[in-house]
Amino acid sequence: MLDRAQVLHVARLARLELDDDEVQRMAAELSHVLDHIEKIRELDLDGVAPTSHVVDIVNRLRADEPMPCFPPEVALAAAPEPLRTAAGTGFGVPSPLADESP
């Protein structure tokens, strides 16, 4: 059973702002789903290896050679805040420092 504090903690980890209604609904819905999912914890899985991937491939590396890539203008075309300054081009973001006013 998830309580309000847990929902808010997970929402913060997920970078998801939830309003009060959503917090309440999420607590009830996730608890309901988890109640069902919990049943797998009753299985005897001692010594069973986990599967993260079904393809029988370990690592597949290409030759470490330069390959063509998008020019900056193409990569920036869909950006909400493309930056084109004398210092170069890039993705604009707000300040990561919460208290710093713009």
């Binding site: 970078r15 996730l30 797998i40 986990p50 079904v54 393809v55 075309a77 869909a78 707000p94 300040s95």
Partner: protein, 475 residues
């Protein structure tokens, strides 16, 4: 024009190749139907086929293709059914789309879907629900609901979608068409907007099994841009089987008993199809998949966990929506995601983040990964005795719009019969097996990894014996 629409994609391709049909005329016939449709199946329709090459000389003969929104298509809206990607036009094209275009199937349009492929009814689309052409008060299934509805209604000759836990097979079943989920790794995932990377696979949604084989043949192969893709062993064969002599079908009691809540009409159609299979010379015996009932639980931990990581990229920085860009960085992230994602996507991100969070990782995600191992082992054992496993595709026929939206867990049970194969990475196909109260029922067959050619062959023999008629949905 009606004549063109009545042809299967393979027949239309042959018509173009022999000069009986003009490729431009074929494209225009479908373009007009797609542009004027009333099911909300398309989110974007092309004005004309992209230039290049003579369709008559290519294996797919200029037969236009509907493509699920989440496949990146250069310069064309690719939004994965989400408002957070509204208007996004990617700078490159997904490998499978590029391969099919090169083989002679021009892009007809982009089809509606559940947001980021999360859903079983298409009601989670940021662009509105899709209506089922058999009954417009009902859902087409999901998440590839637009692709399935478009093919069933004759708005497109054929389509591609993606399947993570049933998202090709279940809508194919609910719309009365054929849907193939290939072996994991058979088709490149490059350019598919990711949901759960260890499960996502592209596949065909078509009017019949021959069309599925023809389209799938040109989708497979290793792609240097997807390191989990592998070379398909040999060429995909076009189906020819006339009987099923020597074929051993296993029917798992865990997926066909009462646990999944299979409707009586679905059960009747399933059993009638098994009788047809026996009549064609197949043996039908019960088999065991002891861990299959736990597949749904494992899936709803693994898929959301992978989704919570994949969807971290929607942060208002490189593409898509940005909200409150004047606030600090974390607030901008959180508000962009709050506004851009719909309720089901938020639910899965929360579930996945919780399952991966400190203190819960082993109990949830780690346990689910172990269950995944046991499910693969169950199939390996079953395939020592049986060639293919048969179940209904979905426990239900198409349900009424809005009837399951209030209970996420009930909605998840749509995937009861399809997720075990997804977790094991094995191929499975849904073919229409008949009608129950006027609505299509899907018959689901699964085989060992890379058994697609044989699987399609068996499905083809059954298809001919069933003689399903989907024309009524194409009016």
């Amino acid at each position: 024009m009606t004549e063109l629409i009545d042809l299967t994609a393979a027949q239309a391709a042959r018509g173009v190749q022999t000069g009986e049909i003009g490729a431009a005329e074929l494209f225009e016939a479908y373009r007009r139907r797609a542009a004027g449709e009333e099911l909300n199946a398309f989110l974007w329709v092309a004005d004309s086929p992209a230039a290049g090459g003579s369709p008559a000389d290519r294996p797919l003969g200029g037969v236009p293709l509907a493509v699920k929104d989440l496949f990146c298509t250069e310069g064309v809206p690719s939004q994965a059914g989400s408002r957070i990607l509204e208007g996004y036009r990617p700078p490159y094209t997904a490998t499978v789309v590029a391969k099919l275009t090169a083989a002679g199937a021009p892009l007809l349009g982009k089809t509606n879907q559940d947001e980021f492929a999360m859903g079983s009814s298409n009601e989670n689309s940021g662009y509105g629900a899709v209506l089922n052409p058999w009954d417009r008060g009902r859902v087409p299934g999901g998440s590839s609901g637009g692709s399935a509805a478009a093919v069933a209604a004759g708005l497109a000759p054929w389509a591609i979608g993606t399947d993570t836990g049933g998202s090709i097979r279940q809508p194919a079943a609910l719309c009365g068409i054929v849907g193939l989920k290939p072996t994991y790794g058979a088709c490149s995932r490059y350019g598919m907007i990711a949901f759960a990377s260890s499960l996502d696979q592209a596949g065909p949604l078509t009017r019949d099994v021959t069309d599925a084989a023809l389209l799938f043949r040109h989708m497979v192969g290793h792609d240097p841009c997807d390191s989990t893709s592998v070379e398909f062993p040999g060429q995909v064969a076009l189906p020819v089987a006339e009987d099923l002599r020597g074929i051993r079908l296993g029917v798992p009691e865990e997926l066909t008993g009462d646990a999944g809540g299979v409707q009586s009409g679905v059960r009747e159609s399933f059993e009638a199809t098994l009788n047809l299979a026996e009549g064609l010379g197949a043996s039908v015996e019960p088999c065991r998949l002891p861990h299959a009932p736990h597949a749904l639980s494992a899936y709803y931990l693994i898929a959301p966990a992978e989704a919570s990581a994949n969807l971290a990229r929607y942060d208002g920085v490189r593409y898509g929506l940005r909200v409150d860009g004047d606030a600090d960085l974390i607030t901008m992230y959180s508000r962009t995601r709050a506004r851009g994602f719909g309720p089901e996507v938020k639910r899965r991100i929360m579930l996945g983040t919780y399952a991966l969070s400190s203190g819960y990782y082993d109990a949830y995600y780690g346990t689910a990964q172990k269950v995944r191992t046991k499910i693969s082992e169950d199939f390996r054992v079953a395939f020592e005795q049986f060639d293919f496993i048969a179940t209904p595709t979905s426990p239900w026929t198409a349900f009424e719009l809005g009837s399951k939206t209030d209970d996420p867990l009930a909605m998840y049970f749509n995937d009861f019969c399809t997720v075990p194969m997804s977790l094991a990475g094995i191929p499975a196909i849904s073919i229409p097996s008949g009608l129950s109260e006027g609505l299509p029922v899907g018959f689901h067959l699964a085989g060992p990894a890379f058994s697609e050619s044989r699987l399609l062959d068996v499905a083809y023999a059954l298809e001919r014996a069933i003689g399903f008629d989907g024309r009524v949905a194409r009016t």
